[in-house]
């Protein structure tokens, strides 16, 4: 008589398949981790550029309504009734260095225009100029931190 061996439930995955997929998962994961490691290595970790912290002088050296330009640092310091502001001079369009104009700022490369607060008034620039954090250094000078960007329009009060 023929014996009938029936399984109540066939195994969904046999050992060979399981080990194979486990192996491939291992290969895949190690590749992924290695790639991430390599990318992290290439990610600029240290800023070798000009220092991000700069001291620009005592608050009382600045006159109201005049844009003080720091060309090499690409920063304009503005004194207003509301306080102090440090606005980036790097155009948000394609990275050119902008200059002051009667209305505020303008980019000589592609004609973007900004008002005194760095808001776009014309040209191809897509967004407002960056505002950097302003603080008072221990020696009483104004200190600008170019690595910290703040909401445009927030003036620093002395």
């Amino acid at each position: 008589m023929k014996k009938n061996y029936t399984r109540t439930k066939p195994p969904e995955i046999d050992r060979r398949k399981f080990l194979t997929s486990l192996g491939w998962t291992g290969v895949g994961l190690s590749t992924l981790i290695a790639s991430i490691g390599n990318l992290l290595y290439l990610k600029p970790a240290i800023d070798y550029g000009p220092p991000t912290l700069l001291r620009v002088g005592k608050p009382e050296d600045f006159k109201e309504g005049i844009k003080e330009i720091f060309e090499t640092e690409r920063v304009a310091v503005i004194r207003d009734k509301k306080g102090f502001a440090a606005i980036s001079l790097t155009c948000t369009h394609l990275g050119c260095t902008i200059r002051t104009s009667e209305m505020g700022f303008e980019c000589p490369c592609h004609g973007s225009q900004f008002d005194n607060d760095g808001f776009v008034t014309g040209g191809p620039a897509p967004k407002t100029l960056d505002w950097y954090q302003v603080a008072i250094a221990p020696n009483g000078e104004l200190e600008i931190d170019k690595s910290i960007k703040i909401t445009p329009g927030t003036y620093f009060k002395v």
């Binding site: 090499t72 369009h93 394609l94 050119c96 000589p108 490369c109 004609g111 040209g123 191809p124 897509p126």
Partner: protein
């Protein structure tokens, strides 16, 4: 059919000057239907390559003696030129960026690369192969030609018709900006 004795197939015959070099998948031999269609690489192809090499090298040497590669003043981050332009092959994109940064800088280049990659999978019909501007595929050729012409026009506009503040200028009226 299933049991091919590979030793038999690849046996070396001392009297033969040829051997089996490789197996190529295909429905017909690539030698072509008419035997006349094939010629020897040596000398027919090699002589053409040599001539091209000599012509290209000579052309470059002559251009190198007559036209100097541009060299402006040393880089100065504080004084951007007006206008500042990307390399010429990106000027089409820069022209688009001056209308919309997202469209010109992201959408169009991504779209171009993706479509170019997919071209052979969109148009798979084996007609009009091996002939310039075959009538059977004038539609596909028309689209590609239009694309090339649009890119060319954008590059020319970006190169010659854009002056200070990226305003439109007529090159021969402003006394040769470039």
């Amino acid at each position: 059919m299933r049991e091919i004795d590979t030793k038999q197939v690849f046996t070396k015959d001392a009297n033969k000057t040829y051997g089996l070099m490789e197996l190529v998948k295909g429905t017909k031999p690539t030698v072509g239907l008419q035997p006349d269609d094939m010629v020897f690489t040596w000398p027919h192809l090699l002589i053409r390559e040599l001539v091209l090499f000599v012509v290209v090298t000579a052309f470059l040497l002559v251009s190198a003696f007559f036209f100097d590669a541009p060299l402006e003043e040393i880089a100065n981050p504080n004084h951007p030129p007006n206008p500042a332009k990307a390399p010429w092959y990106f000027l089409g994109l820069q022209e688009l960026v001056s209308y919309s940064a997202f469209i010109g800088g992201v959408l169009v280049p991504t779209f171009i690369v993706v479509i170019l990659m997919l071209v052979p999978f969109i148009d798979r019909k084996k007609i009009g192969i091996g002939k310039w501007f075959a009538k059977e595929r004038s539609f596909a050729n028309g689209i590609f030609l239009t694309f090339l012409i649009i890119m060319l026009i954008l590059i020319i506009v970006g190169t010659y018709f854009r002056g200070p503040n990226w305003e439109f200028v007529i090159p021969w009226e402003t006394g040769g900006l470039h």
